[in-house]
Structures are given as structure tokens and as C-alpha cells.
Amino acid sequence: MTLGFADPWITLAFLLCLGSAALCVIYGYLNWNSGGDAPEKPSPEDEAWIHEEEELEDEL
């Protein structure tokens, strides 16, 4: 199946675009709940980071 393209390299690129988007969808779906729950409370490190980020955001 060439999908109307003259060159198999283009057909391959076309299919890889669809395939990689499908990979993203499948990966996202399968790992929807993996990677750790967000902590109930940010850690002290994260708290410090948030505080400083807010200061920077205010400047901008």
C-alpha cells in the first residue's frame, strides 16, 4: 500500500507519524496512573521551589 506516494520513504514517514502518535496515546493510557501519585503535601524542597518560583513569576 503506497497511499498514493511515489516513494516508500514517504509512505514510511506518513505511517511513522501515525504510529508514533499512537504510541503516545497507548503509552499515556497504559501509564495513566503510574509515575507516582502527587503527594498530598509538597515536600519541603518543593515548598521552597514554589516560593521562589512565585517571586520570579511576580517579576515577570
Binding site: 506516494f5 502518535a21 504510541l23 499515556g28 501509564n31
Partner: protein, 542 residues
């Protein structure tokens, strides 16, 4: 015109409202991190996508697709696989982890704290301030080109109009990342491009039928560009030919890989709550990039059929647009799509430009205030850093507008894809200069401060040299090679096997050199203190 005005007013009103809400009540980055407040991963992915994809991708690279053909779909593949999958799954969580560990808030600061070097912070920030205006300039240019054609006004007027709009938006809403506003922009872009793609295919009788017609039209472009290696829009150019090198080394490789080291995108990973949110965002991000870049590229290539089938034009896109590649997409939409779709697309492109420009100025403002001023001058400075941030944004904004004004004048009619080239140059510079120390810093303990610095300098110097003296597309415009050596490129038409030196993108030479120097210097210089490395590479919890 009436419909367009109403659409633009509604768009501006909603954006203004969201920016106001963001200003009043919520802080994008930090809100998201605070437990108890959930931002849906769709919102995170759309906002990232909106910053990633700009008018440059749609107008600039869509125009490139109209000329060079669908080989550019390899870039679409890399944008999804590298720009989303690798970026989120591999780099994202490490960037977030180390960024929080080291209390880093900007890209230069992240690198500087990882390598314990203020010099790195200054170097990276200065490079951002010097070269990012080129990228923001071509993004402004892409939007202005569309406005020019759509409203039938002069380019300068369109640029002035759009630059004023951006300035007003930034002045009112600030650059505080308002994730909901970005996500809305992303949503508009997704709907607008999907509609355009469907209408384009529908007008040509379906997917395979459209591709086949384009294949059948190929002799026309081969007649014009066949001697440079063009083999039709649905075939890759001849291996090793001039067009092959432009397409593969600059457009596909340069932009496809360069996205990993984009300062304005890397900081976004730090604002997610946990790795889980990144995993979830991959789902939406992949589809978003497929539709936006794939849609722009396919539409661009197929536009040739619309121009050619129009009895009044009866020419391929490049000729129909008077060799102004950046005008192809605007002309196609204005002439061959229904008026309402043109209006919707007008807003789509405004959203695309606005979201990217804001993320760029956010990065440049932070580079000026936090990295250069606070980082290098510190408390010794007389001004408050807010003044410096504003000044930084103002100066880089003026630089961007000036470039958007000058470049088309300077390169008019030369058949140059200015928007795509400007983007590719910036992406290539970022990759060659920042990538080894950024990716290396996330994953390898052995890379030393000296290794990082020498690697970055090597990447930058080689890129600059190659752009100025070797790579014909830039060296012939910069004229320094001509002035010093009496020829547009010092390598002339030299060829070694399949390598046509004057067409090899700087990245192809500079990135490997930068990686080699980073590794070699690291092997022979003093490693960073063990306790610092232990802190950076402590096991990630989430």
C-alpha cells in the same frame, strides 16, 4: 470582515479574562504544584503544545512542504517521537527532579547549579538574549504574513498591527504563564488545523486520491528544481543532492533534534506535580503535534494542487506566491478555503503566535533579570531586578520586531524560506550549544564543569563559524565570507562522496564536536564534589 472582527474581539476578550484571572487568583506554575488543586493533564499538554508549535511551524514549515514536498513528514515524526515522547518520558521527569533539588527556575540556572558555575548561567542567558529574538522575530513574521494576505494590507502595517497586539497583551496580562490561557490557545489551534486538514483532503477527493494527484503533478516541480535533486512532492530528494541536504540536515535533523534543548520548553517540565502528569500529557501531546505539524505539512504540499487546478493561476505554489515561500499557506487559505475557515484560521494563527511569543519572552525576561543581573551582578546592582526584566523584555521585543521587519526586505524574492530558516538556525544553535551539557547533566555523573563549558563553547563557535563561512544559505547573506575571501562560501561547490559541504547544516558538524569535547574534557578534568553529585543523582521518588 465582520465575522473576523467579532471572532478576534471574542478571542481577545476571553484571553484577557483568563490572563486577568491568572493575575488575580492563580499562579500557573506554582498553583499546579500545590496539592489539592488539580490541573487536568490535557490542559498541561495543550499548553506545552501551544508553546512548542507556532506560526513558524504552520506558515513557515507549511510553506517549505509546499516546495520541498512530503519528505518533511520525517520532521513531523521526530516532533512527535523526540519532541513529545522522548522529551516527556525521558528528559521531563529528570529535569523536574534536578530542578527542584537544586532550586533552579530557569534553564540557565538549572545548568549553572548542576555544574556549580556562574559562568555557565551567564553564557547560556546571554546566548538566549542574543539569539532567541531571531526565533521570536520569525514567529511574528509568520503571523504578519498571514495578516498581510488575509486583510490585503502591507506587510509593514500587518507587522506593526500584530506587534502592537502582542505588546498590549503582554502589558495587560504579563508574562505570567497562564496555563488555562495557553491551553485554550492550544485548543483553538487543534480545532482550526484539524478543520483545515479535513477540508483540504475533502476538496481533493480523499487521502490516497489527493496524494496520487500530487504524485501526478510532480513533473512540474522536477522541471523547475529537478537539477537540484527534487524528485517530486511525494518522493524524497535525490540522496546527497542540494535539496536533500537542506531538507534532511537543516529542516528534519536540525529542528527535530533541536527541540530537546529549547530553553523555553525545558522549564515547563519543572512545573508538573509528578512523573504521572508527564505520562498523562504524552497522550494528548502526541495527538496535538500530529495534527498541528502533520496538518500544516500535508496542507502545504497539497496546496500545489489547488493553485495548479485554478485556471486563473495554473501554477504550482512556489510560482503562484512569487517565490515568497512564507506567503504560500496564507494565500492558499485565503483563496481556496471558505471565508469562515480563513477567519477561524486567522484566530488560530494568532493563538499559535501569541502562546509561543509569550513563552519566548518569559524565557528572555527571566534570562535578563534572574540569570544575568541577579546571577552575575547580585546584590551589588543598583536597580531592582523587575526593572531589568522589563528592560530585557523591551529590548528583545524591539530586536524581534526589527528582525521581522528587516529580514523580508533583505531577502525579498530570493525564494528563501525565512521563517523556517530562522527557526532552524535557532534550534540548531540550541542543540549544538546546550544539548550535551543539558542531557549529559541529567544522566551522567562524570561530566565536569570544564567539560560542560568547553563542549558548549565548541558547539557555539563551530555553529557560528559554519553559519558565517560555510553554510551557503546564511554565509551568502551575511557577506563576511564574500568580504574576506571573495566568495559566498569558503568551500565553494566542494563535495566529498555524498557530502555537499556548503549545504551541510552547522548542527551536523557542531553537535558531534560538542559531544566529543564535553566527554573528552570531562575525562581529564576534576569531577564535581561527590556530595553535590549525590544530591543530583539521589534516587528519584516520583
Amino acid at each position: 470582515m465582520f465575522f473576523l472582527t467579532i471572532l478576534v474581539i471574542i478571542y481577545l476578550f476571553v484571553m484577557g479574562y483568563l490572563a486577568y484571572r491568572g493575575y488575580r487568583g492563580t499562579r500557573t506554575a506554582t498553583d499546579y504544584l500545590i496539592a489539592g488543586r488539580e490541573i487536568h493533564p490535557v490542559v498541561m499538554a495543550l499548553s506545552y503544545g501551544a508553546a512548542f508549535i507556532s506560526t513558524s511551524a504552520v506558515v513557515g514549515f507549511g510553506g517549505v512542504a509546499a516546495v520541498y514536498g512530503l519528505g518533511i513528514l520525517w520532521l513531523c515524526f521526530l516532533n512527535i517521537f523526540v519532541g513529545i515522547f522522548i522529551a516527556f518520558v525521558v528528559l521531563g521527569s529528570r529535569t523536574r527532579f534536578i530542578g527542584h533539588k537544586l532550586n533552579a527556575h530557569t534553564f540557565p540556572e538549572l545548568l549553572s547549579k548542576r555544574y556549580q558555575s556562574i559562568f555557565i548561567q551567564g553564557l547560556v542567558a546571554v546566548l538566549i538574549l542574543l539569539f532567541m529574538p531571531l526565533y521570536s522575530g520569525v514567529v511574528l513574521m509568520g503571523a504578519s504574513k498571514f495578516i498581510e494576505v488575509r486583510l490585503g494590507i502591507g506587510y509593514e502595517t500587518a507587522l506593526f498591527f500584530f506587534a502592537t497586539l502582542v505588546a498590549m497583551y503582554v502589558a495587560v496580562g504579563g508574562l505570567k504563564g497562564v496555563m488555562y490561557a495557553d491551553a485554550l490557545q492550544g485548543g483553538i489551534m487543534l480545532v482550526g488545523m484539524l478543520t483545515l486538514l479535513i477540508m483540504t483532503y475533502a476538496g481533493l477527493g480523499g487521502i490516497t486520491g489527493a496524494h496520487q494527484q500530487l504524485t501526478d503533478l510532480s513533473p512540474r516541480i522536477i522541471e523547475i528544481m529537478g537539477d537540484r535533486g527534487h524528485q517530486g512532492w511525494t518522493a524524497m530528494p535525490t540522496f546527497g543532492s542540494q535539496i536533500w541536504w537542506v531538507l534532511v540536515s537543516s529542516i528534519i535533523f536540525g529542528v527535530g533534534i533541536g527541540v530537546l534543548a529549547q530553553p523555553q520548553l525545558a522549564v515547563r517540565y519543572m512545573t508538573v506535580k509528578s512523573r504521572r502528569e508527564l505520562n498523562r500529557a504524552v497522550l494528548v501531546g502526541g495527538v496535538f503535534i500530529l495534527v498541528l505539524t502533520g496538518g500544516a505539512f500535508i496542507t502545504g504540499a497539497l496546496s500545489n494542487l489547488y493553485f495548479y487546478n485554478d485556471p486563473e493561476v495554473n501554477e504550482i505554489a512556489l510560482i503562484a506566491a512569487n517565490r515568497d515561500i512564507d506567503q504560500i499557506i496564507p494565500r492558499f487559505i485565503t483563496n481556496y478555503m471558505p471565508g469562515w475557515l480563513g477567519d477561524v484560521f486567522f484566530v488560530t494563527l494568532m493563538a499559535a503566535a501569541m502562546s509561543t511569543v509569550c513563552s519566548q519572552f518569559h524565557a528572555m525576561g527571566a534570562a535578563a533579570g534572574r540569570d544575568v543581573y541577579e546571577g552575575l551582578i547580585g546584590s551589588a546592582g543598583k536597580w531592582s531586578s523587575i526593572v531589568v526584566v522589563r528592560l530585557g523584555i523591551l529590548v528583545t521585543f524591539l530586536m524581534s520586531v526589527a528582525l521581522a521587519y528587516i529580514l523580508p526586505v533583505h531577502l525579498a524574492g530570493a525564494g528563501a524560506a525565512i521563517v523556517a530558516r530562522g527557526t532552524a538556525i535557532f534550534f540548531g544553535l540550541c542543540a549544538a550549544t546546550f544539548m550535551p551539557m543539558y542531557v549529559g547533566g541529567l544522566y551522567f555523573r562524570f561530566i565536569t564543569r570544564s567539560g560542560a563549558i568547553w563542549g558548549a563553547l565548541t558547539g557555539f563557535v563551530i555553529s557560528a563559524f559554519w553559519l558565517t563561512f560555510v553554510h551557503r544559505q546564511e554565509s551568502s547573506v551575511l557577506l563576511l565570507s564574500d568580504y574576506l575571501f571573495g566568495k559566498p562560501t569558503i568551500v565553494g561547490d566542494a563535495r566529498t562522496g555524498f557530502i555537499l559541504w556548503a549545504e551541510v547544516d552547522p548542527l551536523v558538524v557542531a553537535l558531534p564536536a560538542s559531544i566529543i569535547v564535553t566527554v573528552l574534557v570531562s575525562l581529564f578534568t576534576r569531577p564535581l564534589p561527590e556530595e553535590h553529585l549525590a544530591q543530583c543523582f539521589e534516587t528519584e521518588r516520583s
